[in-house]
Assembly symmetry: C5
């Protein structure tokens, strides 16, 4: 699992059916690279989280049929950047 | 999921049967590296999209038997490069 | 499988249900990058371990329903950094 | 899927049973890194192809029990290096 | 599949049950990075091999329940470093 910071919400009106209406987050990793994750936890921007990738990203969703490859798993209590 | 820009269509006459007649797109990631994705959304060149990889790339297609590992999931409404 | 060093425990109160109450470890790889793993072995900080990723990370847990993508597989007996 | 160039055939007499007698190709990616792929298309050295990785690499083979993680999916009609 | 050189055996007394008593190898890739693989072929140090990753790494083992993500698939007959 990777350590990342939530930067923003991703607004995406036109999407595949498999994503449903899940809210999406833009995350920044420790090298500054951006990616997009589904968020079953509900994390505000600025927080440090850890994410799970691959098939486990689907199982971490309440509905495992959501077609994601990156899901926020939890908020890190304390993180010194 | 990764943030990428659609660059072009990929013309490929000779292909494995598992790809069917799916249209393919050449994408550029944030570092400039190119890759190829299936496109169930129908995205014109120039648009910024986000893509899903791994087994989820198949589930994001209308037909999950398509042998892809990268699928365009949606068009990002606004993206400042 | 990757060779990594256990750095610390990760404290995370708010997490997805799929992680249960599994203890989490912060690991450092050979390039210094940090990641988070589940730990069925019980490894103290400072030890060098090897980890398994992808779907195998779930099968390496006692309970394969745990939604992890990185699991500590064993402690390396001797490792010269 | 990745864009790669076929460099050579890989000669490998001693192999695991799961690879059968499949012919193997050495490929070079856009950064010059080499890897090995199974080739259900039959591509001569020098050609630019795109490849699929992960579990989809098995499904792209005529026999999905072949234990590969990288399979040539098609020949790109025109590619300017 | 990746091209790697076998460097050493990995001694690991304390390990997860899912690895059984499989022997483990330390491998070096073309950039010099080290990783750990299961070895159903039986390869002595110094040899150049190619490896399979992901779920295919389990299917390449005689027992597909072994929790590995990297397995040696074959010895390359001739390799100029």
């Amino acid at each position: 699992m990777e350590i990342m910071q939530v930067i923003d919400e991703l607004v995406c009106t036109r999407r595949v059916a498999g994503l449903g209406v899940e809210s999406l987050r833009v995350l920044k990793d420790q090298k500054g690279a951006l990616s997009v994750a589904t968020d079953p936890v509900g994390v505000p921007p600025g927080k440090w989280v850890f994410t799970v990738s691959g098939s486990a990203a689907r199982y971490a969703m309440r509905d495992p049929k959501i077609t994601t490859d990156l899901t926020i798993c939890g908020i890190i209590d304390h993180w010194d950047e």
